[in-house]
Structure formats: structure tokens, C-alpha cells
């Protein structure tokens, strides 16, 4: 029983870490609050669902097509909605607040567009649903695939930031945009790549989710909330801590629900949200920002 819960916690933690990674990239390098983030998870989920049911394409292949699709969508959003505002100092100052409204609009459009196109019916498909037993834990193939892909991407991201000079330049942009620019880092390009990568990661998470749960056009919002909880727990813009915080949330949620009941799930998540904001607004692992 305990091992089973532990496994469930690791799987949901990996998923939260993955979803939050995308959100954190966009916040970190652009200081934009993407509350449409969960809706990109939804887009990824539907891409996998329709590819599988209509065309018989494996979700494994959809991981690649979704990556391209969502990255292209991120590029479009960057060029059409954000580029001009980021380029003007006066507008850029207000963009962090305005981004809430921009992405809220985007979220409404995506949810209702999907609802119009696909209907609000919840859907699902069966892929790798055979159960494997190991060490007292039973797991479906799709859960193992989810865990593997999420772990590969999050660990890959950590390694990139730790060991690759381009990762260091990303950290530089996240921490001190103006200082990064004067040592030759093309901040605009880093921001563009970050938003493409952030959107693509959300899409990939959507493909993974679609293999293990029912999907609807409105499935995104809980992921947006979970991602914000994780990102705030880790400290906004702190990529590595955000990944760790994803697992923290997965554990608290899984064991919390097991000890109480599923009806307490939202209370747990929002409770953590409020608790962290009240007690450690700089994040569990962050250092307090000095007031100046």
C-alpha cells in the first residue's frame, strides 16, 4: 500500500514538475504570468487524442508533433501579442501585470474554441494500459511512460542549466536581463526560445496526461493552478527549485488525499498555496528579497 502511494506520488510529482517547468521558463525569462499555461496542456492532450483515435498515431509520435505545434503557437503568441510590448520600455514595465489579462483572454479563447470544436464531452483512449507488477507496485505502461518522459525532460533541463553555457546565459537572463544584454546575450532571442520551449513542455505534459486520464476542454485550469502553486513554492523563476517543488506537491497531494479523502484535494492544494504565500513568499528554497 505504502509503495503504491509512493509510486503514485512520484508520478504526479513528475507531472507537476514538468508542467511547472514550462510556466517557470516563461515567467523567469519574460516575467509573464501565463495563466493560459494549463490550456496548452489541454491542446497537447487533444492533439494526442485525435491523432490516436482518428489517425491511429501513437501518442509517442504525438509527443514530437505536439512539441512542434505548441512551440509554433508560442512563437505566434510571442510575435503577435508580446514582441512590441517587450520592445518598448514604457509598455514592458506594465507587461507583467498586463500579461494576466492577455493570457486570461487567450485561456478563454482556447477553452471555448476547443469546446466548440470538440464539444465539452470528456474523452479518453486506451494506450499501454496493461498492468505491470514490480516490488509490490502495480503500474500501467502509460504511467511508466509518463514518468520516464517527465523525468527525462526535467532532468535534462537541470543538466542544461548546470552544465551548458547556453543554460548559464538563460540563468543570466532570468536573474539580470540588462546585465545579460551588455555582455552580449541576445535577450530577445532567449525570451523567444523560452516561450516556445515553455509552450512545448506544456503540450508534452498534455500528451502524457491524455494517456492516463479523461480529457475535456476545461481540464487545463487545475494544471494552471497546480503549476502556479509549484512555481511559487519553488520561488518564481527558480527553475531547479520549481522542479523539486513539483515533487513536494505530488507527495503532499497523494498522501494527503490517501489520509483524508479525495474531497480534500483542492483544499490541500489551495491551502499550500496560501500557506506558502503567507509564511514564505520567497518560496520554500528561495532567499528573501531585500526591500529597497
Amino acid at each position: 500500500m505504502f509503495q503504491q502511494l509512493l509510486f503514485a506520488a512520484v508520478v504526479s510529482g513528475a507531472l507537476y514538475a514538468l508542467v511547472a517547468l514550462g510556466l517557470n521558463l516563461v515567467y523567469g525569462s519574460l516575467r509573464l504570468l501565463n495563466i493560459a499555461h494549463g490550456d496548452l496542456v489541454m491542446i497537447g492532450a487533444y492533439t494526442a487524442f485525435w491523432s490516436f483515435t482518428l489517425l491511429g498515431i501513437s501518442p509517442v509520435v504525438s509527443l514530437a508533433t505536439t512539441t512542434v505545434l505548441c512551440a509554433a503557437f508560442g512563437f505566434l503568441v510571442y510575435v503577435v501579442l508580446l514582441k512590441r510590448q517587450l520592445g518598448s520600455p514604457a509598455l514592458a514595465q506594465r507587461l507583467e501585470a498586463n500579461s494576466l489579462i492577455i493570457f486570461y483572454g487567450l485561456s478563454v479563447i482556447l477553452q471555448n474554441g476547443a469546446s466548440l470544436a470538440f464539444s465539452a464531452t470528456s474523452r479518453g483512449y486506451q494506450f499501454l494500459d496493461g498492468v505491470h507488477m514490480f516490488g509490490g507496485v502495480s503500474a500501467t505502461g502509460s504511467m511508466l511512460l509518463l514518468l520516464g518522459v517527465a523525468a527525462a525532460i526535467t532532468l535534462g533541463a537541470l543538466a542544461f542549466l548546470r552544465f551548458h553555457v547556453a543554460g548559464w546565459s538563460l540563468l543570466a537572463v532570468i536573474e539580470r536581463k540588462d546585465a545579460a544584454a551588455v555582455v552580449g546575450v541576445n535577450v530577445e532571442r532567449v525570451q523567444m526560445i523560452s516561450i516556445c520551449a515553455g509552450f512545448a513542455i506544456a503540450g508534452i505534459a498534455g500528451v502524457l496526461v491524455s494517456m492516463t486520464q479523461q480529457i475535456t476542454p476545461f481540464m487545463g485550469f487545475p494544471f494552471t493552478i497546480a503549476a502556479f502553486v509549484v512555481v511559487i513554492m519553488g520561488g518564481l523563476g527558480n527553475i531547479a527549485a520549481g522542479i523539486a517543488a513539483g515533487f513536494v506537491l505530488g507527495f503532499i497531494e497523494t498522501f494527503g488525499v490517501a489520509l483524508t479523502s479525495a474531497t480534500y484535494r483542492s483544499i490541500l492544494i489551495y491551502g499550500i498555496f496560501v500557506g506558502v504565500l503567507l509564511l514564505r513568499p520567497q518560496g520554500l528554497f528561495g532567499k528573501a528579497v531585500q526591500a529597497r
Binding site: W168, S169, A179, A181, V185
Partner: protein, 239 residues
Amino acid sequence: MTILDVQNVSKQFGGLKALQDVSFGVDEGTIFGLMGANGAGKTTLFGVIAGQIRPNGGSISFAGKPLAGQRPDQICRLGLGRTFQIVRPFGNLTVLDNVIVSAMYGSARAHRLADATAAGRQALEDVGLAPLAGQLAASLTLSNQKRLEIARALATGARLVLLDEVMAGLTATEVAGMTETLFRLRQERGLTILIIEHVMGALMNLSDRILVLDHGVPIAMGPPEQVVADENVLKVYFG
């Protein structure tokens, strides 16, 4: 040879005229001082030269190339580096990784990581930070973070660096050390330096020429001994 040529640069923030018709030239291999009270427009001028602030009028050229419309990272790759008055280290990176990023992205030449690492180590050596290469930048003392600012600008391969109050907050011994470092950099690297400094002794000692700004208006320019004797400067500083 004039490496930096500033012609009639003006900048206005709303109703505030931060810079009015500022013109000067900096010769290659010299140290050029910028003087003026707080709010005189010195840091704004740095922002304009480095491409972070768009001027309302005037033109700037560096090594014969006009800088108008170029992004800060493009200007950096032309060979122009700057430091910040309030230090802005990449605190989550080690001291060495800070300068490797500079060398990798700031230089005009295509770099391999090994080359960037070598250039970075050389820059740390030049400012005396080599022993601290492995530490996180956030853990350095203020005086060392100021050195890191300079090292980052050097690692880009800059021919001209804009130094914004690199001596403020340093002890007398540290000021002497920094002065010696800057002279050595000019000597060894043929570096041209444009420097803002409130530590007057150091500025007089370092500069070949000095420009004095008062509320965005240039009021005197020339060798240090001539500038300190200038009537306008005396009026602004001593009333």
C-alpha cells in the same frame, strides 16, 4: 585616433532634460573621466552609449561605426562593454561561469567553450579574482563584485569599457588597488576607459581628460588640472 565619438546627444524623460546636446570624443588607449553631481546625467549617458536607452537626438559612433538602432548585445559584440553602478552579478552562477557567458556571447569572434573559458580566466586574472573562480558570484564581497563587473566587461573582449562608479564604497586601500588595476589594463590590453567616479582623487589621478556635466549640460572639458580650475565647475561644486 578617436574610438568613441558622441555628437549632440540629448535625452529627455518626460519634462526632465537628462542630457542636452552632449558632445565629446574619446581617444583610443586613454582614460576619459565623467564628473558631475548626482542626477547630472552620467549614468543616463552610459545607458545611451551602451544601447539601453534610446536618445532623443544626436549620434554616437564607435570605432567609426554608428551605434544608432543597435541592441545592447550587438553593441557589446562591436567591442564596447559596461559595468553597473549597482552591481548586477549573475548570483546563481560561479564567478568563472559569469565571465564565460561574457566571453561566449559578448565577443565578435565565434567561440568554442575552451576559448571562452581561457578568455574568462584571463579576465579574472586581470582583475585579481582568479582565486575565487569557483565561488558563487552572490557570495562575493562588494569590492569583489565590482571587480567581477569589470572582469565580465573585459571577458567580452571589449576595446572600450564604461565603468560606472567602480570605486564607490571601497576602502582607501581598495581604491588604490583598483586604480593600479585600471592603469595596468590600459597598459597591457591597450584598453580605453570611460569612467564615472565620485572618488575625486582617483578620477583626477586616472583621467587623461574629464568632461563635467551639470543637469545634463556639459559645462567643462579638458585635462584634470584645467577642469578643476574651471570657473563653471567651481561654481557648480562650491557655489
